[in-house]
Symmetry: C2
Subunit: 152 residues, 2 copies
């Protein structure tokens, strides 16, 4: 049987280091939220941190952005990481929370973030998005079985 | 203003040729469905056709695959196309339909599909997924405004 009919082939809570390894070279995820009418919308987002101990991913965003309103309405989010060159594809399911925490912003700040927040860490619009990972899968070749990294 | 706080900058029903151009070089999309518990799941999928006249995308899949059950339960899907090398990112929102149509399968068949359907066009598990595009946006550089390609 091919992987098409497969359910995830392995349950690996210990898959966490592999998740880190896979996504550390993929700068941008497509971050999917559920709009109020139920439709799914994605946009590229720079991953600021993958916190292995807490199974969390952190992002910067603007409090005014439509995705923040969508997340207040519905926390369920999906993140996909694609590295077509290496044939690596990762799917993360989770819940997103809007967090205001200047210390955390300072910890995660990089000069590259100035493209979006020219005022830097004290930009009044800058908020954190914390995504608690509920499950993750990856594929590393077209004929591979999907591998469950995390979750049920 | 940066794109983080932006709403789509342009309404372009005429954005269709650009959508074709952007996704024709991206072999695989991350195809997101809504599971019965509301969580979002993505998996890589090969785009078999973008039908410009009908605003439809076509895929092959197996009738037994969990995504088919998810789509029967909830048609709303999100597709993301990422080309990190070229810095192109596309989000498509739509509705998915399961279609059995051997003529259409034959029309879209490519030998590459044998990886998933070794029995070829007559594989009894092979069904078509038709995605009717409701809206699409793209980003072509980190600092760009999002561009609305299609839809409201
Ligand atoms: C690069 C790549 C391309 C794939 N293309 C397809 C495809 O076109 N159709 C398909 O059903 N599965 C494809 N798969 C497998 C799916 O990603 C997935 O594992 C399978 O369809 C089962 O998905 P489901 O359990 O979510 O239903 C592809 C996998 C990879 C790695």
């Amino acid at each position: 049987m091919t992987q098409l009919a497969s359910t995830p082939s392995t349950l690996r809570p210990e898959g966490y280091p592999r998740l880190c390894e896979l996504i550390k070279d993929i700068d941008f995820t497509m971050f999917t939220t559920v709009a109020e009418d139920g439709s799914l919308h994605s946009r590229p987002m720079a991953t600021m941190q993958l916190d292995a101990d807490r199974a969390e991913l952190w992002f910067f965003t603007s409090i005014d952005s439509p995705k923040v309103a969508e997340i207040y309405h519905e926390r369920t989010v999906g993140l996909s990481y694609a590295s077509p060159g290496k044939n690596n594809y990762v799917s993360v399911s989770g819940r997103a929370y809007i967090v205001r925490d200047t210390d955390k912003v300072t910890e995660l700040w990089t000069p590259a973030a100035k493209i979006w927040f020219p005022q830097g860490v004290n930009d009044p619009h800058l908020v954190l998005l914390r995504v608690v990972i509920e499950s993750a899968q990856f594929w590393d070749s077209p004929s591979s079985m999907v591998v469950q990294l995390w979750g049920l």
